[in-house]
Structure formats: C-alpha cells, structure tokens
Symmetry: C2
Subunit: 213 residues, 2 copies
Amino acid sequence: MASKTAERILLVSLELFNQQGEANITSVDIANELDMSPGNLYYHFKGKEEITAALFSMYQDRMKRVLFSPGENGLVIKDFFYFLYLTFETSHLFRFLYRNPSDLVAKYPYIEKGFKNLIKNKEKGFNQILNDFIKQGSLAVKREELVHLIELISMVLTQGLNYYVMKGDDIDDDDIIYRGLASVFFALSPYLDIEEQQKNDLQLAIANGTLDQ
Amino acid sequence: MASKTAERILLVSLELFNQQGEANITSVDIANELDMSPGNLYYHFKGKEEITAALFSMYQDRMKRVLFSPGENGLVIKDFFYFLYLTFETSHLFRFLYRNPSDLVAKYPYIEKGFKNLIKNKEKGFNQILNDFIKQGSLAVKREELVHLIELISMVLTQGLNYYVMKGDDIDDDDIIYRGLASVFFALSPYLDIEEQQKNDLQLAIANGTLDQ
C-alpha cells in the first residue's frame, strides 16, 4: 500500500464511490478517471474488491485511532461532543460505506464482520465515557436507559447522511455533522447535570459549528 | 393493477426486494419465483422499473392513509406513539426502499420526488401533532428545538433498519419497531409534562410491545 500510485488509486476510488456509490462504479471507471490503463490498475489492485477492501481497512484504522483517542479519564461533556464530531467526520470521509450498508454487508463478508466490530467498539467507547459522566455526576441517566441514548447517537452518526439524502436537503459536509450533533445535544441536554453557562456554551459551539476550534 | 396476477407479482417482488435488495433482483428472478414465463410477466409489467414504480405508489398510498389518519385534535401522547408505530410498520413493510435510498433516488426520479414529499408530509404531520401537545401543555419543548426532535424521530423511523443490519443484530420485525420507539421515548420523555402514571404506562407498553393492543 506504500506506493504513490496505489495511494492515488485509493483516493480517486474513494471519491467516486462517495459520489456515485460503490455498486455503480467499475474498476474501468476508476482507471478512466485516473487516465490509466485497466492493466496498470490491475497491477496494483486485483479488481474493485481489493480496492474496496483496502478502503475499508483505511476506514477501520482511522476509526480505531479516533475511538482509542479519548482513553484517559477526566473528559468533560464538551470533549465528548468533540469526540463525536471526530467519529462523525471520519465516517463521513468514507460515506460510501453508509450509502447501502445492507448490500455491502451481503457482498463482502469482511465488511459485515468489520462493521459489527466497529459499531460494537464504538458503542463500547460511548458506554465507557457516558458511564464516567454518570459517576462524575454530570449525566443523570439510569444505566438501563443508556442503551437508548447510545442507539440514538449511533443512529445519527451512521445513518444521518442517508436521511438527508432522502429528504433531499442540499447541505454541505460540515453542516451535516453539526446538524446531527445538534439533534444529539437535544436528546442529551435534559439529562445533563452541568452548569447552565457550560451548557449554553456547548449548544452555541454546536449551532455555530465551532466545536473543533 | 386490479388483476389477481398483477397483485401476486407485486407481493412476490416486494418479498424478494425486501430480502435481497431491489438492485440484486431481476425481472427474470421474479418470474422464476412465480413459476411464470418472463413473457407472461412482461404482459403485466414492462420490466422491473414498472414493478418498482407500482410498489412505491402502494407505499405512498398506505403512508398517506396513515399520515392523514390522526387528523382530529385531541390526541394524547400515547396516541402519538401509536401513530409512530403505524408509520414505522408501514415503512417496514416496504423496507427495501430504505436499504439503499441513495441508489434508488439516483436511479428513479419519481422515487426521489416521492421520498422528498413523503418525508416532508411526515415531518409536517409530526410538527402539527407536537405543536398541539405544546399548546395543550403536555410537551415542554421550545418551538425552535422541535426541528431536532422531529429529525431524531424521523431518523429512527427511516434509518433504524439499516442500523440494526450494520450492527448485525438479529432481531425480528416487531422488535425493531419497538426498539426504535423506546429510543424515541427516551429522547422525548424528559420533555413530557404528563402524569407520572401515564408516563410509566406508556414506557411499559413500549417495553412490552403492547402499544397496538
């Protein structure tokens, strides 16, 4: 995967997949877009399956880095939203994976397995952080309700894009992320036991799209 | 659409589409499943496109009937959840539409337009009912926050299935509906200004899957 050409192939494939869906792109389309002969492309990747596999593994690596980044205790609620922002952003970069997950899962067994593990790890991460907040006293959610909160967050993060596509909303990438976060904030907000000022600041940072600053 | 054969073709197509995705089924697959010659199928529907169009229009009709059913004022919160149950159930019956919406929307212009209208009407319906609750005093949500609540509900209703598929959860149809409703209840619950007993009864009906009884 080290070669410059292989990297260029992956980036162009990612862009085409994101724009038109993996199912609608052939390896010949990718070669054409790169002004490359199909034979040359084949030298680097043995067909679209290998490209998809390489992209999925890039996605997994990035997600793992994001998911293991908080690690330490002592996160505050704002950090959690920043962490969600990063998770959302990374998924958005590989958004073709979320276009038709049922088909991808049926077609590629490693994606089926990989998605399961990723979502499991993601929800485990959320669970740990949210449990810390409950212990700290900044989140007043019963432990048995946590599963619903986590499902809501996870659904917004993984399915938000499809929803906006179906709705026909023409909004740009950063807006999608922040709109999702605003909905998560709405669901979480009544359960937050933090100072009113902090709460307002956080809501403002989400509304203004400045969480990452 | 009146003929018994046409009806049978649609029902079998719906089942195949739901199981394997519209993109993975050809009109020959449908004819085979029906023990029918492709020519006979063609006599009723000129290809898969016409079948998909007929199914989408069935879905639209059913959804319209559900969406216009509450109509009258004087709904209580429990009615709203029953209304969500019906909406969810109808979408679930035509769940192939939610498998890869981006592809369907790109392939069929009438689905693109139809989805937009449906989601718009659905959210308008939610908005009206929730606004009535605000007026009645049973829901304490600021009008400008309503958009987030509606997005959350709509996302759970339209994207819940893909989420459970990705997660690899093997749960049956009714469970998916009630699990989604439990997450909606979690988000809505702190904003509900109704008697504690009513709230507990509703939560129990959702947990036990007895909302429709």
